[in-house]
Amino acid sequence: MPMTMTQKILAAHCGRDTLAAGDMILADTDLVLGNDITSPVAINEFQKAGCDCVFDCGKIALVMDHFTPNKDIKAAEQTKKVREFASDKGIPNYFDVGEMGVEHALLPERGMVTAGDLVIGADSHTCTYGALGAFSSGVGSTDMAAAMAYGKVWLRVPSAIQVRLTGKLQKHVSGKDVVLHLIKLIGVDGALYESLEFTGEGVAALTMDDRLCICNMAIEAGAKNGIFPVDDKTLAFLSDVGAKTPRVFAADADAAYSRVIDIDLSTLESVVAFPHLPENGKTFNEIGDVKIDQVVVGSCTNGRISDLREAAEILKGRKVAKGVRALIIPATQKIWLQAVKEGLMEIFVDAGCAVSTPTCGPCLGGHMGILAKGERCVATTNRNFVGRMGDPQSEVYLASPAVAAASAVMGKIARPSMLKD
């Protein structure tokens, strides 16, 4: 029976030759991930069940990124609980302040995921690693507990939507615009329980950072996972970061898809998702004067070095508009240092931005940039739900780093072409 790329990876992880959409399987995990919010709940479940040993201490990653550096006493207690668990179980991949990064930027950077892996994480944006040709999906804390104890996860084998990409993105249009465009097309539940499998000659022109960003937001269309084929760029990336030997899977030519969507990358423009759903994408011919109070460039979606370069290119020699707070959050320590070396930090500070240590922080309304009632923020993050970044009556507009930087300068939602030289 012909299979999708996702189905082939799943089959290889449950000892089956073939799988069909709808099959229920118990699959082996190559990596189990948790953060400072979801791990404490998983540890509770692990201990309540009387579990003692973890299945493989080298296949668990605990990343303290959401409320760190600890925002308050309760947050400090939560990371302490995870720190002690990691120490007690001998889990080496525990990442705290000083070496942590936003989890989905950190794990690929450290070579902890390779093509063909099956990764689950108690964080919805775990789907990011599909960019590396892995199956990866967000699950809950009890799933994480069970996987830490037994190395297994239950899954319903998904059908897939094929997204065929052609052409090449224009300048200042990025992976973020591709995924916001896709979510606008199919809606926040358009890929519910399904895979989003990206194919076509347009894939080759997308950078690894673009692919990571696109897969990161697969969950915002309800998808179980997003996945890209493995090509020379993927293999070069995996080699550079020292990842394990890739296992390359490809969809069968006659694999069945529930739906096929064609996107010509060359026709895409900047997209901004208006409150309060990621599907509310608008292009600039539909956007009037929307004054803003804050800009955030960062997160597991857009906190990578190419995102910072894009923002810096626009902010260089310019100033953040009076009355706008601009926050730049490099996603990992390595990215932070790279930004220093390239002179990006100087550009940001000269422009009037505040630069933070890596954290998820404001993306989920945790800390480091919370909005007051009625305030508006243009953010390169992934969700714009009610109250996501602060007061329930604040508003988040999702956009690319280019749009976020241009908006910071203009004091309203803007794209680079609207800037005066």
């Binding site: 979801t38 404490p40 319903r156 519910l192 739900f385 009610v386």
Partner: protein, 161 residues
């Protein structure tokens, strides 16, 4: 198993940020989480919810974050069952894993309607309007997790393979 409770109705795309805002995720204590359940979509939820009440919602219930705090808060607040046109995938698995009954059913419900759900028979009766609905049973694989009392028990007992 039969559950009876009054309906608390919500629309489509009820996300996990409104079910339990992230500002309260610095704890994993179910009682503290329950005290802020649904706060950003229904500020009076905590006052009006009664033991056994049933949440009736539209499509894509529980979309967004993987936070298991969401079904945990709902369960601890006293909700006996969530009925929705569809569920977001992580909320769906979390509910099954922790033993919060959920049902996929496209029915007509209003706030305060008395609903009776028979999980075994796969029937839902709106006693206020007299309308009856059926819903498909869970796949056998998931039924084993539910019967075992949650995922950790099912794994320990070798119930699923």
């Amino acid at each position: 198993m039969q559950l009876t409770g009054n309906a608390l109705c919500y629309g489509d795309n009820v996300d996990t940020d409104v079910i339990i805002p992230a500002r309260y995720l610095n704890t994993s204590d179910p009682k503290e989480l329950a005290a802020h359940c649904m706060e950003d979509i229904d500020p009076n939820f905590h006052q009006k919810v009664k033991l056994g009440d049933i949440i009736a919602a539209g499509s894509n219930f529980g979309c967004g974050s993987s936070r298991e705090h969401a079904p945990l808060a709902i369960k601890t607040a006293g909700i006996s069952c969530v009925v929705a046109k569809s569920f977001a995938r992580i909320f769906y698995r979390n509910a099954i894993n922790i033993g919060l009954p959920i049902i996929v059913c496209d029915g007509n419900f209003s706030d305060g309607d008395t609903l009776t759900v028979d999980l075994t028979a796969g029937t839902l009766q709106n006693k206020t309007t007299g309308e009856n609905y059926t819903f498909p049973p869970f796949p056998e694989f998931l039924q084993k997790i539910i019967t075992a009392g949650g995922l950790m028990n099912a794994m320990a007992g070798g119930d699923i393979a």
